[in-house]
Amino acid sequence: MQPDLERELIRKCKSGDARFYEPLVRAYEPAGLRLGLAMMGNEEDAQDALQEAFIKTYDTLHRFDLRRPFGPWFFQILRNQCRDMLRTRKAKSNVEALDEKLEQRPADGERGPERTRQRNAARDTLWRGLERIGDEHREILVLKELEGFRYGEIAQILEIPEGTVASRLYHARHALREALLGMSVEYP
């Protein structure tokens, strides 16, 4: 979504018109669901966390600084919501269930049963590797690799100093690599 349009929508929402919140919800829903899935481990809990995060975001919009990007701010709320739910509801982090509920979309030009089978196998292996690393490692990898956030944005979302992001990413990638090695997968 264009930053100008996003700002205008937030301005309207701040003035109390909830109708203008819908485009924001729909724009951030897919990425939010991905982060929710990675943190909660199952789709139902991810959807609950996402819903609560959108409501909390709306309720606190009056505190939002329009000069800052909306995405990192929302993901910070979503991440805290996931953590709260994991703590209070002790949501079962069941990445095996995640495996069953995810399906792969082959990129254009890569269709074909053999290619799809290979990509599915690689995807399954990676997901199983992710299952073996901690929540903190998984969330930073999702923010960086799937959502493509910059270090500064990740620092804002995770509420850590920007200088710590590289270190956290190194440990997360290293942990993932170790997990894959434990599954007899050699990289590269």
């Binding site: 819908e22 919800v25 829903e29 996402l50 069953e100 690799e145 270090y151 990289y187 590269p188």
Partner: protein, 141 residues
């Protein structure tokens, strides 16, 4: 010998978060160290494979917007209903109190109205307390 590139710098290099002058230093170190090249190649392969994880929930789920919208707009609805009811009840009470009806009729009618309101309030209060302790309150039906 281990090159003079820290793990953090390697990550910043890999993720394109490094200014050109620092990149040039890392490039030079990479040219001189096969160990560093291998380490970078491993992380690059992991990164590429991870980014290829294009996925979405297999079962189509409706957007959370409807539920969010319901929760976001519901308080406004309740405020309007409560405010409207309060105004009507106040007006009704005023009309009733200032009407030329027999005081005994007023007393009896008032007792009935107040009794109904008290019963309603107690039922709502009971339901609210039940809801607070309902373990299934978050379950979508």
């Amino acid at each position: 010998m281990r090159p003079r590139v820290s793990s953090e710098d390697l990550m910043r290099y890999l993720d394109g978060e490094m200014p050109p002058d620092e990149r040039a230093v890392v490039d030079a170190e990479l040219g001189a160290s096969t160990e560093l090249q291998r380490e970078l190649a491993i992380f690059r392969a992991l990164k590429t494979d991870f980014q290829a994880l294009s996925f979405h929930p297999a079962e189509y789920r409706e957007s959370v917007w409807d539920r969010v919208n319901e929760r976001v707009t519901r308080p406004i609805g309740w405020i309007l209903v409560a405010a409207g009811a309060a105004v009507w009840m106040s007006y009704g009470a005023y009309v009733f109190a200032t009407s030329p009806t027999d005081p005994w009729e007023k007393l009896a009618s008032g007792a009935v109205a107040i009794g109904i309101l008290m019963l309603l309030a107690s039922v709502i209060w009971d339901r609210y307390r039940e809801w607070q302790h309902d373990p299934y309150r978050d379950v979508q039906r």
